[in-house]
């Protein structure tokens, strides 16, 4: 023990300012009643500005998403920029992007829960909510891309007069199965740990809110049996949803990798897509946490610089992993010398979309690496917001490069044509607006901080004296 104490007080450590243990949420407990009141107040407090933003988002969704989609349905897919050889455009880019965003919720909530990372506690719900709403956007993009969306039910296997059965040999069908599984599972996973907080909200509400919480909290009281069943089900989910998360983006990557197209037919696409999803997802959590912290009342107590610091470190590691996979995906075709692969790589780096390709590398590697190595910067929320936005722009661009830009170069040069999106742009803006709208409305209806999990964590933490310093210790509460 003495050795440990000495190693903590190493020379150099004394030069820096000693960290106040109360900087850590887990070591700065407040009475549960107070935390409940803070969360309830954050849900109930709205302003004219809030409703102004909501109205703006509703209008954006109505015009940019619903209006443009109806127009597209009425006029046909010809109003999009899709044409030979680029038949998959921004709708598919958006779909892959939103599925990527959805990965962070599961990763942060489930994986960190399984690994017993205590720092996860205050922001798991914010991330889980992002998963569910991200998947809604992804599903929407698939339906938009279908064109004749009213025939979407053909994907469902049921006997019918024309003997049209889904083809389970097709990666698109695997995608349908994987995304369906993930949407259902992540929504259930969002709901389960929410039940005790809904019961808390029920105990503190009146009027229509009381009725709403009474119904959706299912009569939960917190008996030993109820907790036992809830924890058991949550444990099963935490373990089971992790491989599902990995499978979803792997299957999405197979939509591309199973073809023999240059740039797509890659065995590394599965993990490359998964790591890309985590990259954008974690960055999105940083954005969401910043928004929650800066716009919702009392959230500065729950969402602290330590959480941005943690996400920043995670993001840096994932960024390095992404760079590794990107290089892998680049090196093999470059070395292989296949003519069309070489042409595609050259088109990426020197063609009309070269600025996009370079921007991707700057956003996904250069800027995160330049900023996230520094602890002080990682603990600066607005800077993490900037990094989060930059990474998400970079990851959206990455999907743009993989899909429409890569589709431009085929083995038939006479078909080469640049993709120029048109109605896809307002629809994309509309999906972003819908995501933000859903999140804003949800923030007023459900507690974004799992108060019971925070209290459980705080109960398990103590400061332990080791030599001349106090270090945080945590007991295993599960």
């Amino acid at each position: 023990m003495a050795t440990t104490a000495e190693s903590i007080a190493m020379p150099g450590a004394s030069a820096s300012e000693p960290e106040d243990p109360r900087d850590h949420l887990m070591l700065d407990p407040r009475p549960r009643g107070e935390m409940n009141a803070m969360v309830m107040e954050s849900m109930h407090t709205t302003s004219k500005k809030f409703w102004g933003v909501v109205i703006f988002l509703v209008l954006t969704v109505l015009f940019a998403l619903v209006g443009a989609w109806i127009y597209m349905i009425a006029e046909g897919m010809g109003v999009t920029g899709l044409t030979r050889p680029v038949y998959w455009g921004i709708f598919i880019v958006d779909m892959v992007f939103w599925i990527g965003i959805s990965h962070a919720g599961t990763f942060i909530s489930a994986l960190l829960r399984v690994m017993k990372y205590e720092i996860r506690r205050p922001f798991t719900r914010a991330a889980e909510l992002m998963t569910t709403f991200g998947l809604i956007q992804a599903a929407l993009c698939i339906f938009i891309h279908l064109g004749r969306v009213w025939l979407a039910y053909w994907l469902i296997p049921y006997p019918n007069g024309r003997e049209l059965w889904p083809n389970f040999h097709s990666p698109l069908m695997w995608d349908f199965m994987a995304i369906t599984t993930y949407v259902i599972a992540s929504t259930m996973y969002l709901f389960m740990p929410l039940i005790p907080d809904l019961a808390m909200a029920r105990d503190r509400s009146t009027g229509w809110r009381k009725t709403f919480y009474r119904v959706i909290s299912l009569g939960f009281r917190g008996t030993e049996a109820e907790w036992k069943h809830l924890k058991t089900a949550m444990n099963i989910f935490a373990f089971a949803i992790i491989p599902v998360m990995f499978s979803v983006h792997t299957v999405v990557s197979w939509d591309f990798a199973m073809s023999t197209r240059p740039g797509w037919n890659s065995t590394v696409f599965g993990p490359y897509f998964v790591i890309g999803a985590l990259h954008s997802g974690i960055a999105a959590v940083m954005i969401v946490l910043f928004m929650i912290r800066s716009t919702m009342k009392n959230m500065k107590y729950f969402i602290r610089p330590e959480h941005f610091d943690f996400l920043g470190k995670l993001s840096l590691i994932v960024s390095m992993a992404w760079a590794y996979f990107f290089f892998n995906d680049y090196l093999v075709p470059w070395y292989g010398g296949n003519k069309f692969e070489q042409l595609l790589l050259d088109f990426h780096a020197h063609g009309p979309f070269a600025w996009v390709w370079v921007s991707m590398l700057i956003c996904n590697i250069v800027i995160p690496w330049a900023i996230l190595w520094n602890k002080k910067w990682r603990r600066t929320p607005w800077l993490m917001l900037v990094v989060g936005i930059v990474i998400n722009i970079g990851m959206w661009i990455e999907r743009f490069v993989i899909i429409p830009v890569s589709l431009t170069i085929t083995r038939m040069p006479f078909t080469w044509r640049l993709y120029k999106p048109s109605i896809e742009i307002p629809i994309t803006i509309g999906t972003f607006a819908l995501f933000m709208l859903l999140y804003m409305l949800a923030s007023r209806l459900i507690p974004l901080v799992p108060v019971w999990e925070v209290q459980e964590g705080q109960n398990a933490h103590i400061l332990r004296k080791v030599g001349k310093v106090s270090i945080p210790s945590v007991s295993d509460v599960d």
Partner: protein, 174 residues
């Protein structure tokens, strides 16, 4: 003899709660008769109470099996009903089966685990119940039936062990 009351004893912390549970055992209240209600979960080991079992894992395994069977039907049954030749692949491809089998097995597993939460916890339960809202404020409640004539004795014992409140409650709609 009068109907027994239901007493709710509220504690702010876990240690006095555990002492109170031991005391109630001494006073003749068995584990089956009392319930501990709290705003955060506590292990039965922490409370010194008999371990609770749940059938959710077994149900989830059953759900996983159903998912697997559904995958078998989809991947092997459907091409049998309506054959489509794809890219020289066999009609009943094993690698494809693994993908569909994985997704549906996991869906079955998680779907039934979720369902199990409702079945095992008997949720939703909107009928009147013994409850006090202070529980979600972090208080720990020990709830047990108490003969009317012994109410004062139980109250005294619980207060001496650090209870914040001892009161009788009636079931009410939450």
């Amino acid at each position: 003899m009068a109907e027994p009351l239901t007493l709710v004893v509220l504690f702010a912390d876990i240690d006095p709660t555990v002492n109170a549970i031991d005391k109630l055992h001494e006073m003749g209240i068995t584990d089956e008769k009392m319930d501990i209600i709290s705003g955060i979960p506590f292990n039965q080991e922490v409370l010194g109470r008999p371990k609770l079992s749940t059938f959710i894992p077994r149900l989830a395994m059953g759900g996983a099996m159903i998912g697997l069977i559904a995958a078998l039907f989809l991947v092997f049954g459907i091409p049998g009903l309506y054959p489509i030749r794809v890219g020289g692949q066999p009609m009943f491809p094993i690698p494809v089966f693994f993908i569909i089998a994985f997704e549906l097995t996991m869906l079955g597993l998680m779907g039934t685990a979720f369902l199990g939460l409702f079945l095992a916890g008997r949720l939703p339960a909107y009928e009147p119940k013994m409850y006090v809202p202070e529980i979600s404020d972090g208080k720990i409640a020990v709830v047990f039936p108490c003969p009317v004539e012994m109410q004062a004795q139980f109250e005294k014992a619980m207060l001496s062990l650090g209870a914040e409140q001892v009161r009788s409650v009636e079931a009410k709609t939450l």
